[in-house]
Symmetry: C2
Subunit: 491 residues, 2 copies
Amino acid sequence: MTTTVFEGTTGADEAIRAAHAAFLEGRTHSRDERASWLEAIADELEAHREELVRLAGEDTHLPEARLNGELTRSVFQLRLLADEVRKGAFLDATIDHADPDWGMGPRPDLRRMNVPLGVVGVFGASNFPFAFSVMGGDSASALAAGCAVVHKVHDAHAGLGRRTVELVVDALARAGAPEGLFSGLLGRDAGTALVDHPLTRAIGFTGSERVGRLLLDRAAARPEPIPFYGELGSINPVVVTPGAWRERADDILSGFAASMTLGLGQFCTKPGLLFLPSEAVERAREKLPALLQDAPTGAGAMLSRSIHEGFLHNRGLVEETPGVEPLLEGGAGDPPSPALFAVAAADVGEDSPVLTSEMFGPAAVVVSYASEEELLATLDHLPGQLTGGIHSADGEAIGPIASALTDRAGRVLRNGWPTGVTVSYAQQHGGPYPATTSGTTSVGTAAVGRFLRPVAFQDFADADLPPELQEANPQRISRRVDGVWVEVKEA
Amino acid sequence: MTTTVFEGTTGADEAIRAAHAAFLEGRTHSRDERASWLEAIADELEAHREELVRLAGEDTHLPEARLNGELTRSVFQLRLLADEVRKGAFLDATIDHADPDWGMGPRPDLRRMNVPLGVVGVFGASNFPFAFSVMGGDSASALAAGCAVVHKVHDAHAGLGRRTVELVVDALARAGAPEGLFSGLLGRDAGTALVDHPLTRAIGFTGSERVGRLLLDRAAARPEPIPFYGELGSINPVVVTPGAWRERADDILSGFAASMTLGLGQFCTKPGLLFLPSEAVERAREKLPALLQDAPTGAGAMLSRSIHEGFLHNRGLVEETPGVEPLLEGGAGDPPSPALFAVAAADVGEDSPVLTSEMFGPAAVVVSYASEEELLATLDHLPGQLTGGIHSADGEAIGPIASALTDRAGRVLRNGWPTGVTVSYAQQHGGPYPATTSGTTSVGTAAVGRFLRPVAFQDFADADLPPELQEANPQRISRRVDGVWVEVKEA
């Protein structure tokens, strides 16, 4: 049987060289064929659902329902991206016809479209064994772009990871994709080699700020630096306005308790800061501890020992911050029970751990604010976030709060909770550093754009152009022609 | 009078803080107003054409006709970008309506658009006193994005630079833009402070690989790294096929001589490598030296002493490369006369200075190839380029050569010369490292995308959304709605 999972520096080199060769061959195939490869992977994962969910459960302690939902999401994502590949949606095909009267002087015929970068290295996340792992958003969008993928399997679910790589490789082989287009790596040395290899053209990463920054710096220090698309952490502030509190305080508290404890709080979008108006604090103190204790976390233990240790460490940092008061102690066991802290906005300084230490697990801080001015001043000190939430009453003015959150987050949501990230055209999962290391998204169809670069063809003969740019538009894709978008309606 | 050009670290801090405040106020203005600011700058530069061209001539030794053309280009660019701002073309407005039947589970209402990054630092290039300087492509596209700009004036044309900053600041003030939206910096300390300042959100740079890499590394090492859009150098290979040579050898040689010597070869797109089939070499040796000696360079001296020194240094590196033979000596004077070298492709090793040392001035290398195989092997060793050219006969198969150039360049052109870069929708001026430090373009309307990031709004009340995302589309911009682009026809 062909090797599909490689180890060590030598293994990484072998996988990357094979991936590069497969990329070169793969791009000679039509978009329609490449779309069918994504669908073949989706079908294969679906066909092995029971086995995969069982393996994932053994590795991660996550319950079956959650894992089933996550696999559904991953399979859906592959099919949605296959559809985008067929549409040519992310090629950004743009045609300027030659124009002797162009305002700055005669213009040649120029036609631009996006082309894939080459070999993409992807590091899987521990907390999403399907959606951000072997065949998660990074791998799926890199393959959709036309790249080859070498995936560093996360140690926290190596059993599931190995098996998923095997299934993907099998599915691709049967669908006619070139051998080596996708493979797996195991171990830290192989991961480092993946970032350093001259044939690696981009990295996708989801994980801790510490490891992410190390790899980011490594990618930037290469003789030829490459883009590093990292998602490093987020605290996800949620603001409750006085109007929303008057209208539906209990709903807000129970919604928060459910979102914060879901999956033992091990989500990058877990709401970690709840901003409440001062008048709300007494009721919150009274009700929230019980709601949190009763919330079904849906997980029997934390994902890994290192995540558990990291959680206890950062929870400790928050707990020891002057002005912070514990409302509910979480304990040191595994699983930890939910922990809750309270602090007044006036006591939160610029670099307070309350604003900078992500507690990746079931813990959060209630921050009470005496005025909108005080709220905005505190939000102003927050580093970049994946999401920011607002709960407001209908018609209540939220402009300044929405604006402050927009400045800090990639997704701003109203009257909802940040956990649960749909895969769609308008999704944006990524925000200012350190939430992510670039302004791009790792979820949704726009994620493909990370693995492309534009090329313009000047005065080419029509037959020498890629079909997407030929005058007659034989592939019927949407294009911007002489400045105007021309959408081709589906047949 | 208000200060418009700042010096030193303290001056940079003052300019950047003012720019940040202006950015915050500026984004409360409508897109229509912001477009009119760009037009006001265009009008002001046009109104002072005579004075600006005179100042530029004194600083750069470039002839009047060239400077007039460059100013026309810069003014045109501002007006084209104003038009794009009005169209909302680069907002990438995307709307997903709530969908209870979405394949992976119910989908909320999600609406995404691009928002400006904040303060952008721009470093002017020495070789384009208008088009890549104070109000060149980087500044114009950052302002079009809705950002504020702090521009580091190039020492090589500080007189012109100061005056241009003054005019831009005046024009913006009269057009009602917030004070501080645009300003200038002078001196190396101020430039370094611009890269380091926490309020700086992105850098645009055009210059040498050495300085560019220093600043790139500096931007990457910040506590909060920022995107660095640098254009660092390019050799711009041009391939002549046997068919093209048979058809029009003399035209090719004279076209090459004109493009290579234009402006004393001080263009980032100067063709520095001419690949000729072996059978062409004798005629090229015979004819090219005279054509080069007779070519009007259109410049009385090189742009600056440091450019002259850098040119002589790199020309020396190429000259001393084993296998390289001089066909025409350029001398050490200023202006240097054109220099030409010849080498056989078989003698060009992987890291040969022939492929890696940009001679920024009037010098180039003729590389003779014995077979397409040999040609492709040599192209394969080229680092990233801004452009790659092919001269071929009609109907001649150019697939493998076009593909090799596409892998290495951002713009691939047929039967033309790389100098002369039009500003349009499909333009791509940027290529793999070190041509540029990202896959983006610094010329054309797509340049705006570098200074934006996407934000998604989830379940917002219609009135709380930016007008560009409101359901009724009051600003009549093109949007992707539920996966389909909807182009709004102009009234």
